[in-house]
Each structure stands twice: as C-alpha cells, then as structure tokens.
Amino acid sequence: MSALKNKNCNYISNKEIKITFDGRSYSAYEGDTIASALLRNNIRLIGRSFKYHRPRGIYTCGIEEPNALVQILNEHNEPNTRATIKRAYEGINICSQNRWPSLSFDIGSINNILSPIFSAGFYYKTFMGPKGFWKKIYEPLIRRTAGLGKPPKNFRSKSIHQNHNVDILIVGGGLSGLLAARKLIDTDKQVLLVEQDSFLGGILNNSNKVKKIDGKNTFEWIQETEKLILKSNNIKILKNTLVTTYNFTNHLIALEDKFSGKKIDINKSELTLHKIRTTHTILANGHIERFISFRNNDLPGVMLASSFEKYIERYGVVPDEKPAIFTNNSSTISLVKSLINLNCKPCAYIDSRKKEDIEDETKEYLIKNNIPFYPESEVEGCEGNKKVEKVFIRNNSNKISSINSSMLCPSGGFNPDIHLFTQSKGLVKWDEKINSFKPDTAFQNTITLGSVSGNYEFKNLCEEINKKLSFLKVKDLNPEIETNIRDDFSIEELWETKTDKTSKWAKSFIDLHNDVTTKDLKQAINEGYDRIEHLKRYTTNSMGTDQGKISSINSLGIVSKILNKKISEVGTTTYRPPYAPLSFAAIAGRSTYEYYDPERKTPIHNWHIKNNAVFEDVGQWKRPWYFKKHETETMHQAVQRESKQTRRSAGILDGSTLGKIEIKGKDALEFMNLMYTNAFTKMKPMTSRYALMLGEDGMIMDDGIICKINDKHFIATTTSGGAPKVFAHMEEFLQTEWPHLQVYLNSITEQFTTFNISGPRTREIMRKVFTDIDFNNEKFPFMTFKTFNYKNTEARIMRASFTGELGYEIYISPQYALELWELIFKHGKDFDLVPYGTETMHLLRAEKGYVVIGQETDGTVTPIDINFNWMIGKKKKDFIGKRSLTRSDTVRDDRKQLVGIIPLNKSQFIEEGQHVVECENLPNKIKTPVEYLGHISSSYHSPNLNHCISMAMVKGGNKLMGKKLFVSTPKGTKNIPVEIVNPVFIDPENKRLTS
C-alpha cells in the first residue's frame, strides 16, 4: 500500500484485508471501497472504454463514476459494479471489464485507431449491406464484442421488499438532511431518513469545507446527532440505502445493500427494495461535480477535484501527492488545504478565471504555500502512455507550456442533483449564479434543502431550512457553522477548452461511459440533429449506466454555444428512473420461483399427492391433471385408462376449484334473467340448468350450472378461472346499472368442496354412501338437486355431469370433505371407481361435444355459433348480450361454427390448433395465402371409440355436415383427409345421462 494514508480519517480502520484484482493480491483496510483500495496500491488503470477501448482510471468517488466498472468474481459476477461504491472485504475477488487479453494489452484498442469511422450516428449508418451479412457476420460479431462486462452467473437472489408508510421522508443524511432531522426529533411526525453511504454526514465527511458546528468538530457533531435521532421515538434511519425512483403520489423506491463491506450470506436477503409512501418528501441529496472537456480528458490520472478530496477525507488515502488542479470556480481551494494539511503540495493550480475575479484568500494561500499558480489559464490537454504524464497549459497570452504531472484534478462546477426532483415531475430553472439547473416549481409535496436546491453557501443553510420547514411549526434551528474556506461561491462558465491539435485522433470527451467526444456532438448538429432529445439518441451521449451525471449538463452548455441559444432554451432531456442501476432481482423481490403466484389447493390435495397425481395450474389452483397408476405410466396411458374406466364403471373428479356464487334477494329472479341467456322464470325449484353468460358484445364470457332453490335464491357455478371475474361482473351491474334491484351475492367457492362422480355404476356407489337418499331415476331425475344433512352440516347433491355419463355433483362442507372422499372410495372399490384428472375430464366432455370456455370459445364466439340457440330465452325482453346477437356481424352465416371432425384414416391423429383447409397438399413455396376455413379447438384420442375425435370452429360449419375436407399437420405439407360430423360422438340421444 504505497499511497499516503490520511491517519485523521475516522472511517478507515487499521485492520488490514486482502483483495484480489485481475488475479493479483493487494492489501487494503477495512472500510475501503474497491476504488480506494486500488488507489492505496497506486493502481491507476482500471478498465477499457466502451467503444474505443481506451485505457481508463478511477474518475470520481461516487455513484456518478463512468469508468471504474468491474465485476466481482466471488459473488454473482454482476457486470458494471461501481468500484467507487462497492466496499471491499477480506477475500473479495475483482476483475476489470471490456479488455482482452489483459488490461494493459488490449486487442480492442484497435478500435481507437479506427475511431474516425466510429463517429456520431455510426450505428445508424453502417452494417446496412450486403444482403445476408447482418445475420451471418455483423450480428454475431457485434454480439461478441458488445457490452462492457460478462453476464452474471446463474443464481437465485433472496432480495425482499419492505413497505413503509411515513409522514416525512428525508433523502440524504448529509448536513442538510441531518439538520432537518434534528428539527423533527420527538415531534408527532413519523420520519424516515435515507442515506446511501454507510455513515451519516455527506459533505461533512467528504470534504474539509466545514470546520466546526456549534463549536464541535464535524465528526463529533454527526455522532451526537445520530445518537439523538436513535433515541427519538419518531425517526428511523436507513443506511447503505439509495433512493432510485420518485413516483406519484410521493411514492419512492430505494435500494438497500445489506451486505455492504461484508461477504454475502447466501441464506439471508442481500438486497431490500424499500417502497416508501410519504406525505412530504425532503430532498437533501446534494450535488455532483462536473468535469471539463479537453484533449485526452479521459486518461487514467484525471480525477475530479472534489472526488480527490473525498478520497483524502472520507477514505483516508491520498491518490497522488502532487496533483495538478484545474478549476473554474471558488470551491477547489479546499482540496489544496487538504493536501497541505498532510504535507503534500499540488504541482500546479490552474484557474480559468481572471486574476481579479479570484478570491483574495485563495491567492494568498497559494502564494504562502509556494504553489505554482496559473490564473486566467486553461488546460489545453494532457498526454501519456496509458496515464497522465504531461499536462499542457495555455495562459492568457495564448502560449502553451507543459508541466510533468501524474494526476490532474479538474472541477467544472457543481450541479444540484436534480434527478429525483425531475422524476417527481418538478420543473427546473437555469441559475446564472451557480451556472447550473436548480429546482424551481415542485409538482408534488417536495421540498429541496441545501446544495440540491442550488444553495451552495453554508451561511444561508439554516435560514433556508427554517423557512422551508416552517409549516411544521417547530422551533427554529440556528447552529453556528464554521467553514474552512470562504463561503461565497463564484464560477465562470467553461465547458470545453481550445485545442490546437486538429488530427482525427485528438479526442476531447463529453461522455466517458459511452465514448462520445465533443466532435461527435458538433458533427451530429451539423447533420441536423439539433434538438436535445434527438442529439442524445443519435450520439448516445448520457445514455450509459452513469446517465452522464458528470457531463450531461456540460453537453447542454456546448450545444447551446454551437446553436447560439441560451441553455434554458436548449432544455434538458427527460430524467427517467432509476437514478442508479437497479437489479431485476430487487424489483422482483421474493415473488419468484415457487412464490411467483399464490397457490391454491383443495382440501383433498394431500390425498391426490399420496395417489400419485401429476398437477397442472388452472389459474392459481393446483389441479390433478392425471393420476399415475404406476411409476412408468405415461400421461397418454393414464388418460386413456381413466377415460375408459369412467365410461365402463365409474370415475370421480375433485371439482372444488369451480366457482360458486350464492344469489339471494327479492329481485334475484329478474337479476338472473338479465345476467344469463336462459329463461329462469318457469324453472322449477330444486332443479338445475346449464347456463351461458355473455358480454354486452354477445360473445360467451362464462358458463355454469344454475341451481334454483326458489325464485329468490339461486346458486350459480362458474369456471375455475372465471369465478372472480363473474362475481365482479355481477357486482358491477348491481351497483352501477341496476341499483334498484334488491339482490345480494356471496362467493361460496371455498365454503363447499365439490366432487364430480360419473359412470354407469355411480348410482350403486351413491346408494352405499348416502343410505338415506333415494337415487331412483324418477325420484332423483337429471338436472335436479337435493339438500340434506350430513353430520349436522348442510350438504347438497345435484344430478348432472360433464362427462355424459350418469353422474352426480356432491357439495360438502370442507370440514368433512376428505373423510367423505375416502368413504366414497371405500365403497367405490367394489365398483371399480377410478380417480381422474382434468385431462380425462377434457377428453370425456369432448366425446360428448361439450364446449370448454376458453377452448372452443375465445371471446369471439356467440351461443348460436356453438348450436346453443336453445339456451337463449326467446321471450326475455332483455339480457346482457341480447341485442348484440342480432348485429350484422353476429348473424352472418359464414361465421365459424362448432363441428366435430374425424379423420378418414382411423389411425391418424389431428393436432389441436391446426387449420381446416380445402387443399390436400400445402404448396412447397407458398405464393398466395392458403384459405383458412377454421381451426381445431380440441382433439383427443378416444379410448371409447378407438380413434381420434376433434372439435373445430369452421366457417359456415352447420351447412357442412358430411363434407370431406383436410386438416394441416405440424410437420410436412401433406394434410389429413377428414370428415365434418356432428360434434356429439357418443350417445347422441343422451340415454346414459338421463336414465
């Protein structure tokens, strides 16, 4: 660790740790970031730039870093980690990005030589031809070389979400944030203070601008403040937490790194995404220093002045003992003082302002300490082999001299960090005094304090805070703030310095992350891209992961000069969240893998598992898809077995997932008549009816069975997926359209467990299980239901089935559901009862030509299309969808209609989703579209008929009975010859169902 250590730094311990960078081992101290650790070891070269592969070093000391992006090999290897933020720990293994084979010898640097080709808008002008080259050559090559880092390893994050509801959120735990917090201690407001660093203090830690507060040194004052806050009962602090997003309505998102400075424990969540809803937001998130463009301003060794100062004060390391300093404003003198305090001396102080505009105190201090002083001068450029070696200075007589230096610290001024403010939709305004944009009109309940509001002078701070927080009606704060430098801020505009070098390879950068030069900006404007949004996209300026934090305002300055407009006329591009890279793992939180969607299980679930059910997802429900009789049984075998056995003896399905709605009230009958197509008026009590629900456009929305207890009391079933939708649909009409109808609804889906049992031997089983009920056909006809007492609970049996066999639906309280299910099996064993799943259910209903909502119907199918005219109550004056059934579109006779399809060759199988066509063979080269007559909506191999049966929606299908057509196949061009038949394949007279 050869760099000088600042022993006065409070945040670096003496504990040494070992880190690895690009395969070599180095020492550092606990508390170091990767950047400060590398600087401690005098490592200047940290990566290669995006486009030109130019050598790059550490430019800043914060989130705004454009160059020092690395990958952490011993973690998930996420690319583009900022070395200036990521804290080091014992054993951390880091590698640099975007270079091959090594940092010092990178083949990619050939791009730099080819750079005149890669100018602005290069992406839009190249790789156009010849034909075929894009797919075979350009794209694979670009994919290999694009991007900065390598993809991360496969891992499952454990990040979680944490919601907060507070009265006041303070963004930033620096001087302004801490003063605001002190005002709020023990008031009745619930406050959350969020700070991105591991320690509170902000500018108090990062610089030596402030000497004392209320007579205490800054470190003591911060500690005292923190103690007071922790003791209070209304303020909470979050550290290592960065606010990335500011949404409506005062809803902010912040990302917390829970393992900052530590090795990640894979059993704990490593990130927390904080979602904060607040009444007032106080933005005290400070400012960011900006750079200056000059020739080779990207060489390793160029580092922003206040970042250099932050390395000294906050991280206790002096990156270079005699840097050259280049500034256009009054703040940089504090860096000089930091160096002098450690017996170091800058090798030059270059100030672009006129001598008479420079502060007397600054001039005196420079002279007293013998620092070479260059007023009214600017840096023309710097040169060196992969690092700064010489700095060229142009003086006020236009003469250029050079000095030897290994570090150059520019300061182009400071930008209030307005990202969050503009995300909140606040308006900003250009301020001549600070030469930057500052917040002007807030759109939400937002208050800005301190440097983020454009207030750069400590003497104004308390007055600003007291004034802006006066609505809180708390006592004023007036601590005495003593500074180390003169408090008045002055700056002279300087965006880019002049260079004499006219070569194509002389580069002055305006965006370090994406390698955009000032020449690119000028070229783009020449080509007509003079609006700032176009310019940004054409040149990719400020589009990198750093969002141009240190440079985008500079680009506005340069553009305004070229266009001869005021900066306020040029405007800014839209600031979009997140403020800093936000991982998808954090956004997803815990809602991944098995927690992705809530899972719903029926009371019989464990029995299904014990009996080797394979499950499928139906909405949120887990339903048995099929049951494996033995380990090697395939799905096809299982389904064929279950289907055959159900039609031969008996089968039972757990139908608990279907929705059930209880409808009751004086006007229930009128309501049901309006919601469904059927006529319910003449329906007898204690009977059931299959019903259709349409949308107002006449299309089928859902179906179900309606049980009428009496004219004022109904129970409706719905499809499993449709239950919430149907309930909401009914509520909507009752509240918005027909509030005069006195009807109440309750969802009782979970209050009854449902079993569907069907097959020729069902009656015998039911008689054994329910000994008190008469199941004779005359006493218990088809589509009727009975209620009865089962162990002192109310149960119901309805005679209906979806399989076309004699069948019953049993509704039982969940309390006794499993017990009853097992009892049914106990008796059913003697009658060959088989459990079946959803796949068999689909097959059996297809053999009967019954439609499934969502399979035959897709939102474009009317009841008439599927031959359900008989379900429409013709005498009803009105119901939802009635008028739409007579629209010109719904009465067309070439609409797709439901038909059955069987292959002429009984050994062939028809796939669902295939097209019904007229031609026997598809042409090899399709020149004109093949006419499409319809599609196969359901298709199964029927074990009961021993051939494939399909249901299809075919244009004008009703008139095509007996016609020979063809169905396409997934492979090849030879289509399957088929015949259009009645979709009811088994027992068309329904004898099995009704006997």
Binding site: F248, T249, G426, E731, R883, S888
Partner: protein, 116 residues
Amino acid sequence: MILINCPYCGEREQSEFTNGGEAHVIRPKDPDILNDKDWGQYVFYRSNPKGIFYERWVHTHGCRKWFNVVRDTSTDTILKIYKLTDNKPDISEFQSTLKSPSGEPIVGSGNFAVKK
C-alpha cells in the same frame, strides 16, 4: 402508483383497485329499438382524452364499492371522487387545479397534440 381515496375505506394503494373505464355511459333502456351503429357506439366506443377524464374505479381487493373519479390523465392527478349517484361535476370546477408536469404543455380537457 397513485393513492386512491376510496369513499368507504379511505386512502389506499392503487393496487387494491381496478379501473372501470369511462363513467356516465348509461346502458340504453331499450336496446332493441337501436340500430347497429348506435348500439355499437354503446358497446365498443369510449372516449380517451388527454386531460380531464371522468372514469369509474372499483375497490376490488377491499370493499368492492364502485365509484366515480375525475382524473387528469396527463398527470395522473385525481381531482375529485364522487358517488355513482352524484351528478357529473362540471368541467369548469377543475380548470384552476390543473398543473403541468415538466415538459408538457398546459392541458385542459379533450385531445391535445404532442408537446411542441
């Protein structure tokens, strides 16, 4: 994500609600006498202005109540919440409350062209 002040439950997160489309679209009392064009107008057409919009919301994951909302669609600001049975508020009520987020032209009601 906006906060919605349910008339029954108070202020709740937007995720508890479902948007119900345009408000004050009344189902025709006698659909049979309408021709296809007029019936189609009711079934398929809704307005979609940038600016003041009268719409419905329902507190799906809460009390299930439907209510009306006046929202400025360009800023997502809720200007008024009122019951289904209340009269439709006049647009003049909202002119002075309009604010423009950064970059957008000042909005009123009706369709506006893209920002200049």
